[in-house]
Symmetry: C2
Subunit: 96 residues, 2 copies
Amino acid sequence: MVQKLSADARKAFFDNHPAWSPADGKDAAETKLQFSDFNEAWGFMSRVAIYADKHDHHPEWFNVYNRVEITLTTHDADGLSERDVAMAGFIDALRP
Amino acid sequence: MVQKLSADARKAFFDNHPAWSPADGKDAAETKLQFSDFNEAWGFMSRVAIYADKHDHHPEWFNVYNRVEITLTTHDADGLSERDVAMAGFIDALRP
């Protein structure tokens, strides 16, 4: 069973990942990315998709053309967990 | 310049594509799909992505795990056009 982040770890996550912000109404983290075009956005999403299925941890995400909006949370933990911290780090490394 | 569907063509589209419904507040069509798992959902999305970029007509879509929600509209036509009818047909052919 994955544990929810402690209050300190949650604060450290948002302090250390300035592109992410707390979601309204749930213990989750949101970000937005913008690419040059759909080809680039889809390439990014494909890399995240492979990571997600390998780690059995899947984002909620929205895409239209070159824009991608992502919400991370861990249903098993009823909030943010280390799985989200790891995925956010992976995503930030791909940020254009 | 792509033309918006006529009122008759719009009605025919929704009559002939029962999995699609008019969106609230804009001239667009929405649908939801559910797959066995993320692998299947992503396979579907990948096929639509290739179609979309080939036809330079991109969906608005949301995914979490095995669920996909899609909104189609044509910005250049300020509403539904034949491009959306064609994409909806492509999507319906892949529906599980």
